[in-house]
Structure formats: structure tokens, C-alpha cells
Symmetry: D2
Subunit: 154 residues, 4 copies
């Protein structure tokens, strides 16, 4: 495990103060290492959608902030990282439970970082959504994301 | 202009009651015709992001509901239309002004509808974001979206 | 209509020599103006897929080169424009006819250009595919794409 | 490791006969298990692009067929699986070497399958491209893709 450029409490604090709309949803940072984060979003009645499921914008916001955290895990605290694009696929209708997000960076360039996020419903190993996205980042010391593990066990 | 399967006030009401998280943001329906809608989102301090701009999840939510409205403009009120995927590209950093969304359907299939949304900042003709997305829709009478106008003036 | 930074014959020549895999497919440039192009791809037996339709990679390649042309219509001949991402949605199964592509730029930034492409089958106004994509471009004089026309007729 | 619904030689044969444009590029199936495949594409001078790199359409085609293989690894040989959408991000400019593709399914629904593909250049653990896509599939016995391993080593 590679050491991250900021700690979990620092990242959680940064999300709360810097991205208030999402920070106010109560996001917790469970784990940070270089190029990877795991976040938790406790269930909250405001997130409900007709049919008793969780709204797409909530999942989008969680995926976005997971990617943001994964970027910062490599380059540390920067003010001006902004999302330039995001693609999200909704795979299963989540029940009204808390959510988990696993994000990782697949390419950390000089100006753009690209990564992916898997979203889960608590206690279910099948993903409820998958997102990919690109962040525009300010100049920073060169750093590489660790190469992704193969999908298949060897 | 083709007539829509529901009126602007009906759609606005449906958004407010059926998609409360977005409806509560104050979305107005400015125009509806078959396969197309135009929505307005008045500025609101809660949407702010560091740097005085509008958060990505707000723009995602507006694009999502514009696509939802464009779907309903063709098949009328249905309860179970759900987003299956959405891609959003952020093109320009919007100032803290109201937003406009133009959505249209490019393919209305039996089970899936696909369309695109342009987001604008009030009084600026250059788009601030562009989204494409797919909705899963319940069985409905067959209907086609009007073919898109060519990009270029003839 | 704004004048383009290169002519249709110049663009066609550039595609043939610079992107041989696609140029060799026989792409014709029908129209170029600032920020917009229309290309034609005559039918060819090699493009067939089981079921008598046209393969996805052929449509991807055509959309890619249409976006490339739309970029060059604004900044002129550059050698190093490269695709950084592309999203393509296949909307209708095309018959074995020639294809048309309409591409336009929605944002021409200093380093990234973003646009969309509609693909058609000859003589059918309903699109068969829709693509959006981003090109990384070398430094160039500042230029803006013309703002997109509203979807709806006024 | 879960057993696949068809063997590597069967899949390779199916690609060659059923998707000739890609099959003719010389794709090899290195590994198949339930929900996952690894393909190899030997280097070939036709794939070159100006600058000595590999063309986007070649990478798109390889990603597409990797996803197709991953679908078939779960439901066996079906004739009518068609790509409905694909998003590809180009991460690093590949040298003129052979390519590898790792594809896996993240959701196998009754009508739609969704998955992702990582593309590599031979002997380099950093990915050169990442794709996500959706296939429309015919009715089939219900089967689930294995849940994805966590990104981070435990």
C-alpha cells in the first residue's frame, strides 16, 4: 500500500468545507491510499426518490467527490481541481440504505486526471452504479497512480 | 411544432411532486413540445461552489430532469421512467446566475429513450455544459421523436 | 455562415493522408464552415456485420474524423490533435447504405475541444448514432465556436 | 474462478467468423472465465497513426469485442448481442506494440449488460485506455456477474 498525499481526516474536512453541498450530506472518508479512496454516505431521508430508492444526483455527487478524493490522494490539497466530465451508469436500484464509494485514478497527467468509481449499497457486494470522470488539475509535481490490479485473480 | 403529450404546468407539477430533490430547487418549465423542453433554474445561494461557481451535481440534476421532461413530452405521464446512464461535460465555469436547460430526445425506443441536454447561463448563448443520457421507460404506445434539425443553417 | 479555417478539399486531403485507416474508407467532405462539418461515407461491403448492418467501429471512426474535421475548421491544419475521449450511442440499426456525419464543436478551449456528431443513414432523417468527444489540441490563436442554435424552432 | 459459458477457442472462433472486421485484425483470446476475458491483439502495421501510435478506432474495436466476449462468457453463444453505447478514454499514447484487453461485466441484466475494459500495451502495467459500454442482449437464463474485487488490496 502506497502512502497517500493527505490523511482521511484531512480529506473529510476538505470535503466538508470545500464542497459544502456534498459535505453537508454527511460523507465519511473510510480509507485513503495513493490513488484510491473509500467513502461512506449514511442513509438520509432527503435522498429518497419515488419508489423508495436513492436519487441519481445523490449518487452522482458521491461519485464526483470520491474521484476528487482519489485525485487529492495523489497530489495533496489543491484548491482548483474541477470536474470536466463524468459518465455514470446506474446498474441496480439501491434500497434506502447507506452507500459506499470506491474511487481510483487510472491516469494522473499534468493537467488532467482520469479515474473510476464503483458505488455500492451497504452490505451488498454487487455495485449499484459505476462512474468514470476527468478532473482538470493545477500544475503539480509529477506523480503516477499505481497500476490497476488485473480484474481476474491470477 | 408538434404538440406535447403533457403541458408545461403539468410537467412542472410532476417535477415538484415526483422528483422532490430537484423540484425543491425551484425548476420552472418554460416550454414543452413533442420531444423537447426548456427549463429554467433560478439562481440560489445553496448551489455555490468554492470559486463562486455552480456545483456539478446541480447541473447534473437539472440535465437529468430536462431529459425526463423531454421523455414525458412524448409518452405523457409515466411513473417509472428511470435514468440508466448519463454523461455530462462541463464546458465553461458558470457565474452565479440562473441556468437554462434545453433537452431533446434523439431516439424513443420501446424500452429506452436517449437524448441530449444543453445547459446555459442566463443571457449567454455559449453553453456551459452538455449532457447525454438514457432513460428506461415502461411500455407505451409507439411514438417517434421528431428528427433533429441539421446543425448548420441550410 | 462563418468561414472555415480550411476548405473541404483540403480537409478531405488531410483525412486521406493523415488518418489513413479512415481516409482509406473513402470519406468525402461535403461541407465545412467554422465549427461544423458534414462528411459522407459511401457504402462498402467491408463494413458489414452479421445481420447485414454496419459495424460499430466503422461508425466510431466516422464520428471521430467528423469531430477532427470540426476542430480543424476552427483552428486550421494542425498535426497533433488527438482524441482524448469519445462516447457513442447507437440508436438505430443502419441498413447497408452510405452514411452521413454532421459534427460541430460546442467548446473550443485553449487545450481541449469538445463537440458532438450525429450519424445518419443516407435518405433517412432519423439519426442512427450520436457521439460526443474531446480532442486535445496544440496551442493556437484563440477562437470560439459559434453558439449552437436552439433545438426548437422559435 | 467461475467456469465460463464458452471456451477460449470457441470465443476466438466466434469473433473471427461473426465479427470479421475485428476478427481479421488477428485477435487472440488468452483467458475466459465467468464475466471476464483477456484478449491480445498482435501489432500490425495497418494500425499505425501519424506519430507512430495506434489509431483510436482500433482500440475502440478491441474494447468492443472484449466486452462482447465478457458478455458471452456469462450467457454463452448468442447471435444478436449488439453494442448500444460505448465510452472510451484514451489515457496514454501507445507505442507500436501489441495490445492487451481485459474486460469484465459489472451488471448482467435481462436485456442489457454493462461492463468495462482496460487496454494495455504489451509489457506495460499502466493502462493506455479505459472503456465502458452497454450491450443489448436477447432473452437468456438469469445469471449474475461475479461481484468486482475491491480496488484496494485488503
Amino acid at each position: 500500500m502506497n502512502s497517500a498525499a493527505l490523511t482521511a481526516p484531512d480529506l473529510e474536512d476538505l470535503i466538508r468545507t470545500g464542497v459544502p453541498m456534498v459535505g453537508n450530506m454527511g460523507v465519511r472518508v473510510q480509507h485513503v491510499e495513493a490513488g484510491q479512496v473509500r467513502l461512506a454516505l449514511p442513509r438520509h431521508d432527503d435522498f429518497v426518490r419515488p419508489g423508495g430508492t436513492i436519487g441519481g444526483p445523490v449518487m452522482f455527487a458521491l461519485a464526483d467527490v470520491a474521484l476528487y478524493g482519489a485525485v487529492l490522494s495523489l497530489i495533496g490539497r489543491v484548491e482548483l481541481a474541477v470536474t470536466t466530465s463524468m459518465t455514470i451508469n446506474f446498474l441496480r436500484r439501491p434500497p434506502m440504505r447507506g452507500l459506499l464509494a470506491e474511487g481510483r485514478i487510472l491516469k494522473m497527467g499534468q493537467r488532467l486526471a482520469y479515474g473510476e468509481v464503483l458505488l455500492f449499497s451497504e452490505e451488498d457486494p454487487q455495485p449499484i452504479a459505476h462512474a468514470t470522470g476527468t478532473y482538470s488539475i493545477p500544475p503539480h509535481p509529477r506523480v503516477e497512480a499505481p497500476p490497476p490490479a488485473p480484474f481476474a485473480a491470477p
